[in-house]
């Protein structure tokens, strides 16, 4: 057997967490270093996935498949394809950044780092699971550390925010659990095999009516996580109260799990229902895009503004997924990565000024560009990337999504484009109010510019922002075959079901005809 690279990369943070468990909590420096080293280790371990990735196949790569609970047919089955590759890389990358950004945490470092590392394992596991049960376990596993991160190290209303976060997510995911069990049962009745293997479920032909309900159950779990309008209310609360690193992970990775879930599970498992739900989801996504943007515009708190901008951006991603063409889907996946980088960076930057001034209110700032010019440059780049300026990463993803949408529905594309305009409005207006104008507030006059640690946090992200913006080909080429394959599979299965439906209808019509004759 080859080297289990996915397992090592995924469980390395957990190993780090266990290591930290046995270290005296007074040795704070050592704890931080261990956390950083293990997270960087996980990132380095995940790099070969990128370089050794086989571009020519849509099959899952770096697969490991070991039976786990034989009685239920549950196995430890992991692997990645083009769709999950970049989300996996993004996760391990942002974990390093988030840990580095947590250097200023003063209280209870030990517990903090343990939560962070366990969270990393949970997130990485979600993206590699090819077994529905395993997926669910990882999906829930990351709830606990995130709950603690918000609840212990968060802001004043942290308990409310964290419980809301937990209950919302849990409510969605238990319905998914039932749907998973139902698919398992269906598969058992069809093939007589006890299994939770996703790849085997892909071949399952689920009856139309059942598809509807199962899709709905998965929909709740994923839509809450995305979050789609109107399930988004937990997000602003969670973001505002979470510590900086928590926000970064939340926006950068956790939200992507919802959209990833749609691509990995909803589309291929329930193609017919997915097609049926397109108008519904497209409208929710559009409402999300525009509503999120409008609400973001009037926010006074920087973090809240970014949180609502996430609702808007994720609307694009959802729109791209449900147009069923290659541009839309690739754009969505790219946009997930982009959003992770840009929004992650925005939260980091806001975190930096919060550390200096202990406020996030836009009104408290103004004219910062004169005081902290380097910071302002980074902030500008990230802001523009979030808006989608050509040459930066945001543009590529948004453009592809809009292109794909335009091909399938011109009206939707028109509405979605207003979201781009609005995002320019609220982001630039925010930037202007924070960075330009007069340096009127005295408290801002002795703010320090960014230090070397903060350079180390923000520079890699900015490099990636430029790289994806200028030369996205290495990413797109890795997406191509997986996305193509997914779309063909969805299309074929959709048509089979459709044929069945029309045949049934014809039969029914024939019967009725006979009755009349």
């Amino acid at each position: 057997m080859s080297f289990p690279i996915l397992t090592v990369a995924t469980f390395l943070p957990l190993a780090g967490a266990i290591w930290i468990l046995f270290i005296d909590k007074k040795k704070e420096e050592k704890i931080k270093q261990i956390a950083l080293v293990t997270s960087i280790g996980a990132f380095i371990m995940s790099l070969p996935l990128y370089f050794n990735f086989n571009l020519t196949t849509h099959e899952f790569q770096f697969v490991e498949n070991i039976p786990w609970i034989k009685e239920f047919g549950i196995s430890y089955h992991v692997g990645i394809d083009g769709i999950s590759l970049f989300l996996f890389l993004l996760t391990s990358f942002l974990t390093c950044i988030a840990i580095l950004a947590s250097w200023t945490i003063k209280e209870r470092i030990k517990e903090y780092m343990i939560s962070m590392l366990v969270l990393a394992t949970g997130m990485l596991g979600v993206f590699i699971s090819l077994d529905l049960f395993l997926f669910y376990v990882f999906w829930e596993l990351m709830l606990i550390p995130m709950y603690l991160l918000i609840g212990v190290w968060g802001g004043p209303r942290r308990i409310y925010a964290t419980i809301k976060f937990f209950i919302y997510t849990m409510a969605g995911s238990v319905l998914m659990l039932l749907a998973i069990l139902a698919i398992h049962t269906l598969n058992y009745k069809e093939t007589g095999e006890h299994t939770f293997d996703l790849l085997k479920m892909y071949d399952l032909d689920i009856p139309m009516g059942t598809q509807f309900w199962l899709f709905l159950a998965f929909f709740f779990a994923f839509a809450i996580k995305v979050p789609m309008f109107p399930f988004h209310t937990w997000l602003p609360d969670a973001h505002v109260e979470a510590p900086t690193a928590g926000s970064v992970i939340l926006a950068g990775v956790l939200l992507k799990m919802g959209t990833y879930g749609f691509i990995r599970f909803s589309l291929p498992l329930f193609p017919y229902a997915s097609h049926q739900f397109v108008p519904f989801i497209a409208w929710l996504a559009l409402i999300g895009i525009i509503y999120g943007a409008l609400v973001a515009m009037v926010q006074e708190d920087l973090k809240k503004l970014i949180a609502y901008s996430s609702v808007s951006h994720l609307g694009f991603v959802m729109l791209g997924i449900f147009v069923f063409n290659i541009q839309g889907l690739e754009g969505s996946i790219l946009q997930m990565v982009n959003h992770g980088l840009s929004t992650g960076a925005l939260f980091l930057l806001v975190g930096m000024i919060y550390e200096r001034r202990h406020t996030r209110m836009i009104a408290d700032f103004g004219g910062l560009a004169k005081q902290i010019p380097i910071f302002a440059v980074f902030f500008m780049i990230v802001t523009l990337s979030s808006i989608g300026l050509p040459g930066l990463n945001g543009f590529v993803g948004e453009f592809l999504v809009l292109l794909g949408t335009f091909k399938s529905n011109v009206l939707n594309a028109t509405f979605a484009t207003t979201g781009v305009v609005l995002s320019a409005c609220y982001m630039l207006w925010m930037f202007q109010r924070v960075m330009f104008n007069k340096l009127s507030n005295k408290k801002n006059q002795n703010m320090a510019d960014i230090n070397s640690r903060e350079w180390a946090i923000i520079l890699p992200i900015v490099i990636l922002i430029f790289w994806i913006g200028i030369y996205p080909k290495p990413i797109i080429s890795r997406l191509d075959s997986s996305v193509n394959h997914l779309l063909t599979r969805v299309d074929e299965k959709y048509k089979t079901t459709l044929n069945k439906v029309t045949k049934d209808k014809e039969k029914l019509a024939l019967k009725e005809d006979n009755v009349w004759k």
Binding site: K25, E71, I167, L177, L178, A182, T185
Partner: protein, 483 residues
Amino acid sequence: MEITVPPFDIKSIAPIILVTITGIVVLITDVFLKKLPKETLGYFSFLAVLITGVIISSQLGTTVYSFSNTFVVDDFSIFFNFIFLISTAIVILMSVTYLRQEGINYGEYYTLILFATVGMMLMAGGADLITIFLGLEIMSISLYVLAGFRRDRLDSNEASLKYFLLGAFSTCFLLYGIALLYGATGTTNINEIGTFITNNHAYSNPMIIMGTCLLIIGFGFKTASVPFHKWAPDVYQGAPTSVTAFMSAGPKAAAFAVFLRVFLVSLPGLETKWSVILWVMSVLTMTVGNVVAITQTNIKRMLAYSSIAHAGYVLMAIVTASSLGTASILFYLLVYVFMNLGAFAVIMVLGKKGKENLQIDDYSGLGYKHPVLAITMSIFMFSLAGIPPFAGFMGKFYIFSSAIKSGYIVLAIIGVINSVISVYYYLRVTVVMYMKQPVREFAPLSLSPFIILALIITIWGTIHLGIFPSRIIEFAQESVLLP
């Protein structure tokens, strides 16, 4: 008339005899050797329970009926015996220091615990309604006394009296149900009742239906299912904590054991009738248990309601009346023993003489003062809430999967919604532990090697059965009653 003495099969009741004799020896030793520290009696009982476990494992894989088919040793009863012995062993470990600290360090305690265990083992192995009744009474009477063991405390007396009166009342229902079944079928043997009903197609015989309903009432009381649950919170709160822990684990499992055996073996033809009743009871039990638990401020009361809710999940699996459902119950009850006893052990560690610290707010800031203990408690809470990778999740997963496979989708949906509700109050314990500042000074913990051992066993069970449940699931699947 000639009376034939049935063959005396000592081998099949050897475990029961051993536990009984231990109980008697403990009692007598306590009387005659007054100088002997009571702890020794505890260790002695613990040892005896372990030996009994070894004897029981030698019976595995056999099905032996003895005493004119009134008692049976099969894998089903053996699995339950393991559950009982594990919970008894853990409870004894937990009690040793607690009793001294609370000033109720009497030798009878261990005798009563052991006798209750005897009752439970008799219930699990009962193949005749009379044997089952006998076991039930042995268990219950021991528990009545145990609930009032803190005799100088008013709430303990109240618990005991309440439990006794209501228990006696429910026993009447049970007995009346047995009488009706006997009247209709002419036998109290559960296999023969089953055969009689199938052979005579007596599915709508009013006496049998009435009897079944009365049995449901009787068993519903013992499992604290809604609407027969009213006693549980008061009794759980008033009884000494170690006794509460004991009552929530073993006796509950025993009641489910007879529930399963009687309903699956002797009343299978009526399953369409009783499964409707149990369906409703399951929904009520889950919902009432979880919703009321949210408002509790006393942790013992909260766990009492949580234990009611958990009975609801188990009832869900009984409703399916399938081998999968039975296996999931076996697994779940075992898991429940670990996580629930663990939670009680933590409560006991935090209590001290005169001040038990039972309000949930008393746990404020525990996460900073005693991090290891807080993590332990969090694991039990997360497990009870059914969050992976802990055993509680595996158990719930198993139960829900049996419900889905048998087509009880609505029931399963109600079940998962309930488990989301339950998250709220389990989380609250972790919230106060980690997210609130301490409101008071924590007294030194009442730790002893024994309670630490109990904690290690329970935490090991909670994690191990969550991540590597394979072997136990296999064992549970082999131990079901149905083919």
